[in-house]
């Protein structure tokens, strides 16, 4: 087992920089998830770790060894692909045994290891079948099995669940989590699905336009985002963002105004000193932190456009006075009807203030 260190890793395709200077240390046994919108460079980054993509600049270490220019097969990694990438003409057993066969291991040892992996993944009845005779979930388990038998130092997963239907996805997610606990191996996992990221990760790295926006434990990212991008990307439905002006300060809080929404002097907590008055800012609040209007210090009103009733909760979409959209999560689905005016209060303890120019939390 070993950790993984990326030092200012860059990837350029021609003049286009796809990954721009990523620094990251993944501890031994850690489960790290790269998450980000499509095209953010997360898959490219993973493929560089795997050695499938040349590193334009920077350095990759696995287990303290520089593997930047090492062959994929000699890096001590195994990879599970989105499309499973099973060898269609080989049986399940042959698929799982292939890496060992390539390493020149004796047949008896291969058989033993394949049998063990098959037992762990409950694939024993399918060992003599071809991949096309298996269901999607079974194929995914074979792909994982092929990774396990190599006993790699680092497991790499490239959106492994996105080809599965919703129900299977939940099952496989649990299975991967179980596997991580059982093997205690370092795992690096790429996904665009924040639910997968939140549930699986020890730490999440949020990527945007080839750069890491923030790295941290799932709940830290959720409760304490560093910037507008992370605030908007983590959490569903998305955090509401309102334009605001800083007008003053009160202790550690900044006082902000949103004249077009009729709000003056709302106190928003800051990480450090409040920004000087006149700073253009963005005020964020999550839909679940929007409450009833009674007794609230900051109150908003808008016209209800759509109510999505999910059962336990409802997502109420509202159009505010300035025409911008706003989402509320409410447990009282029946209270809202489209076309009616809704009044609600913002919980001041859950307000996030960002610098409008840089997007950074203040």
């Amino acid at each position: 087992m070993a950790g993984l260190v990326l030092s200012s890793v860059k990837k350029r395709f021609g003049a286009v920089e796809v990954v721009g200077g990523v620094d990251l240390a993944v501890a031994d046994g850690e489960f790290l998830v790269f998450v980000g919108p499509s095209g953010c460079g997360k898959s490219t980054l993973l493929r560089m770790i795997a050695g499938l993509e040349r590193v334009s600049e920077g350095r990759i270490e696995i287990g303290g060894r520089d593997v930047t220019d090492e062959d994929p097969s000699k890096r001590g990694i195994a990879m599970v692909f989105q499309t499973y990438a099973l060898y269609p003409h080989m049986t399940v057993a042959a698929n799982m045994g292939f890496p060992l066969e390539m390493a020149g291991q004796p047949k008896r040892e291969i058989d033993a290891k394949v049998a063990e992996a098959a037992r762990v993944l409950r694939l024993e009845p399918f060992l003599e079948r071809k991949p096309r005779e298996l269901s999607g979930g079974q194929r995914q388990r074979v792909a994982i099995g092929r990774a396990i038998v190599r006993q790699p130092q680092v497991f790499l997963f490239d959106e492994p669940l996105s080809n599965l239907d919703a129900e299977l996805r939940v099952g496989m997610r649990v299975e991967i989590a179980r596997l991580h606990q059982a093997l205690g191996a370092t795992m690096v996992y790429v996904t665009h699905d924040q639910v997968e990221a939140m549930t699986l990760a020890d730490r999440i790295a949020v990527l945007n336009a080839g750069r890491i926006e923030q790295v941290g434990a799932p709940l830290d990212l959720y409760e304490d985002p560093d910037n507008l991008f992370v605030a908007g990307f983590i959490g569903s439905p998305r955090m509401n963002i309102l334009d605001a002006d800083v007008v003053g300060s009160d202790g550690g809080d900044a006082l902000v105004s949103m004249p077009r929404l009729g709000l003056e002097g709302v106190a928003a907590p800051c990480r450090g000193a409040a920004p000087p008055p006149g700073t253009a800012a963005k005020l964020g609040i999550r839909p679940e932190h929007v409450g009833g209007a009674e007794g609230a210090t900051a109150m908003l009103a808008g016209t209800v456009t759509v109510v999505e009733r999910l059962g336990g909760v409802a997502h109420v979409h509202v159009e505010l006075a300035d025409g911008s959209g706003f989402t509320i999560e409410s447990r009282e689905a029946r209270r809202f009807q489209p076309g009616e005016t809704a009044r609600f209060g913002l919980d001041p303890r859950h307000l996030y203030l960002f610098d409008a120019a840089t997007g950074r939390r203040v």
Binding site: A50, L52, S73, K74, M102, R146
Partner: protein
């Protein structure tokens, strides 16, 4: 989609015309080859043979050079097929699955080979072969056939190679398979239909080649079927019975081959057609 009765009728009629167009000539030739000479040149031809004789085939196989031509054609075609596949496979793999400087330019240069009439290189090639002492040898035919089949064969493999997901190769790379192993253990089994269709194409190209065989082969005992037959056609008094039997006999090998792997060949031809 459902079809109306009228549409079905039009379709059936079209199919009938198509079948007649393609198959009737072959039927007339095959049925003619068992007719007595008298019936063959009858003023009003018969659809079904009224007479039956194997005399043309007997003559073809016992007193003509056809068996020699047949063996020569088979030898040349099989050798051309093997060499074409052996050269085309690694080249196609490099062209369509690897990245290297000059890839596109080289590929275009290879395709350009199709812009030239074969007769252009015939004259200089004759000189080269005679300098190498290869004129009047079956090897010279193999060399020429491979050269003319190769560009198309490489092009034909493209869609088959493209149908193998890149991840499969990458998985093999991570699993520690060397390139040669990836090619032979992973790619070859997966593109077997493509290899089959390339092989059929190379075989047919060689089987039908006339121009070079007519110039490069001098002695009768090394002639292939196309050239050997052309010699018989050229004679003043045409023995139609013999020629029809010969045409039938020369068709049978490719028909057999096609019955085995024709489906793949057609797939290979059409898959590659639309990029």
């Amino acid at each position: 989609m459902r079809r109306s009765l009228a549409q079905n009728l039009v379709l059936a009629l079209g199919l009938l015309v198509l079948a007649a167009l393609v198959l009737l000539p072959f039927w007339w030739v095959a049925s003619g080859s068992v007719k007595l000479p008298k019936e063959i040149i009858q003023r009003v031809p018969t659809m079904m043979p009224h007479s039956f004789t194997t005399q043309h085939f007997e003559k073809l196989f016992s007193s003509s050079d056809f068996p020699t031509y047949l063996v020569n054609s088979l030898l040349v075609a099989l050798a051309s097929t093997a060499a074409t596949v052996a050269l085309a496979l690694p080249a196609a793999y490099a062209f369509f699955r690897m990245d290297f400087p000059g890839r596109a330019a080289l590929y275009r240069a290879i395709l350009l080979a199709y812009a030239f009439p074969g007769v252009v290189v015939l004259i200089p090639l004759y000189g080269l072969f005679s300098a190498a002492g290869l004129v009047d040898s079956r090897i010279s035919l193999v060399i020429v056939n491979v050269a003319f089949a190769l560009p198309f064969a490489i092009w034909m493999m493209r869609s088959f190679l493209a149908s193998v997901p890149r991840e499969i190769e990458e998985a093999a790379l991570i699993d520690g398979a060397p390139v040669a192993t990836i090619l032979l253990r992973i790619m070859v089994p997966l593109i077997a239909p493509g290899i089959a269709s390339v092989a059929v194409f190379a075989f047919i190209a060689s089987w039908t080649e006339y121009l070079f065989a007519s110039v490069l082969i001098v002695s009768d005992e090394r002639r292939t079927i196309p050239v050997g037959f052309a010699g018989i056609i050229g004679q003043y008094q045409i023995d139609w019975g013999l020629l029809l039997a010969g045409a039938t006999a020369a068709t049978i090998p490719v028909v057999l081959l096609f019955a085995l792997v024709g489906r793949w060949f057609v797939a290979g031809l059409t898959e590659g057609a639309v990029k």
